[in-house]
Amino acid sequence: MSKRRKRTKKRYDGRKPNELRPLKIESGVLPNADGSAYIEMGRNKVLVGVFGPREMHPKRFSKPDMATLRCRYRMAPFSVDPRRSPAPSRRDNEISMVMRYALEPAVFLDRYPRSAIDVYAEILEADGGTRTACINAATVALVDAGIPMRDLVASCAAGKMDDQLILDLGDYEDKEGQADVPVAYMPKLDKITLLQMDGILPMDEFEECVNLAIEGCNQIYEMQKEALKKKYGIADEQEEE
């Protein structure tokens, strides 16, 4: 009886199929924002600032019973090669919208009727998976801003390249691969809040991709928690009064 050994192919940067790119998250980096975070996911560099809850203008767009979460995804002209125009593209608008849908379920919006919570993501350098990097940083920034949340939202993409299912696609894999499935997930509540797909996959592989992405989200979740706690060092046991 011969054992069929699954041969894993080396990825463009030498990673294993289920390996995340190096990840670094810092919270509270912008002095003027109510909350902020900086993330490096591989070569992606994203800075997120959160303002609010604050008065919403124009007032007529505000909701009477809950806050409005406004997300803005913008790429700096020097973030890609070749240089891109600073003006927003249709892709920027779509990503801003899915970011909002990914984060909304986690935020207690009904606590702040008629207000706005603004999440501004600036992509300083892009290398595939910027929307997942944004969501990861935005979550940390929202917590840093003291906005009440049900859970953290972690985000990661899985996909297929060279007939192999892979985790956390880099720019090369995004462009040359067969499928790209970005996912955002609230681990404690076990809820998927972002799900998109680019490419083509048979159903069973798609399911595997989602599972793989969730595994990635769980790993990132731990790093988000660490980043938030790091700002305070290790909290002491007793509080003196």
Partner: protein, 268 residues
């Protein structure tokens, strides 16, 4: 505008004016001191050149991209330099998302004039096929945190980024351009440095903070090159300046540009 709603607190204005009249600033600096300057180059991997400046809490990031494109009609054999500035809404609660407003446009144009008047680039060297293809040098200023004096910090980051720019080389073959595998450093011939000063009451202060800019009477930026030539001047604000005050400011610009040029040479 350092207040959220665009309203300047009377109390703040009174306090700052008092403290400045006594010869010091709210953060303890003298009227002639710059805040702490941190300068780092090569911070972006995908840009041909980059630099980040922290001036006190003000933070700007400049990326330089070098590509190819069509020259302007009136200068068919010259490369192109373009400066752009974006005020990111993360920089301050009063910054609204949208296209550059008059302040962002002013920033881009003042930085641009400083670089251009100093003739830092040999534009003829940046020509590939006259009338058809030239090198395009894009300097993009991205404001990440605003606490006053965006001009000096952006100009410093711009020149630092340009000086450390390395770009791909194209060669001309059969009337078309072809990418080679060579890379070359961008030749930057001069080091223009911007120095911004405010007039508040009867005092002149250098390197204004956001609060100081809120209550200023008028603001003057003087850009100086290493030979002591003035490359550009910009006056903003509704009050006037006396010739005596102008003289003092010119001397200040000379002194402070020396200090910042030293900072530039320490980083590389």
């Amino acid at each position: 505008m350092s207040s959220k709603y665009g309203v300047v607190s009377r109390l703040k204005k009174k306090k700052i004016t008092e403290v400045i009249a006594s010869g010091k600033r709210m953060d303890g600096r003298s009227l002639e001191d710059y805040r702490d300057i941190q300068l780092r180059t090569g911070v972006l991997e995908k840009s041909e050149g980059s630099a980040e400046v922290f001036l006190g809490k003000t933070r700007v990031l400049v990326g330089v991209k070098v590509g190819t494109g069509t020259p302007f009609e009136d200068t068919p054999d010259k490369g192109v330099l373009m400066c752009n500035a974006e005020f990111s809404p993360i920089a301050h609660p009063s910054f609204e998302p949208g296209p550059p407003d008059e302040n962002a446009i002013e920033l881009a144009r003042v930085v641009d004039r400083g670089l251009r008047s100093a003739e830092i680039l040999d534009f003829e060297k940046l020509c590939l096929i006259p009338g058809k293809v030239v090198y395009m040098v894009h300097v993009d200023v991205h404001v990440l945190n605003y606490d006053g004096n965006l001009i000096d910090s952006s100009a410093l980051a711009a020149i630092a980024a340009l000086k450390t720019t390395k770009h791909k080389v194209y060669k001309v073959k059969d009337g078309e351009i072809e990418l080679t595998d060579k890379k070359v450093e961008l030749t930057v011939r001069k080091e223009p440095i911007a120095v911004t000063m405010l007039k508040i009451g009867n005092s002149l202060v250098v390197d204004p903070s956001a609060d100081e800019e809120d209550i200023m009477d008028t603001r003057l930026t003087i850009t100086v090159d290493e030979e002591g030539n003035i490359c550009t001047i910009q006056k903003t604000g509704s009050e006037g300046l006396t010739q005596e005050e102008l003289k003092i400011m010119m001397k200040m610009a000379s002194d402070k540009s020396e200090m910042m040029r030293k900072k530039l040479s320490e980083t590389k």
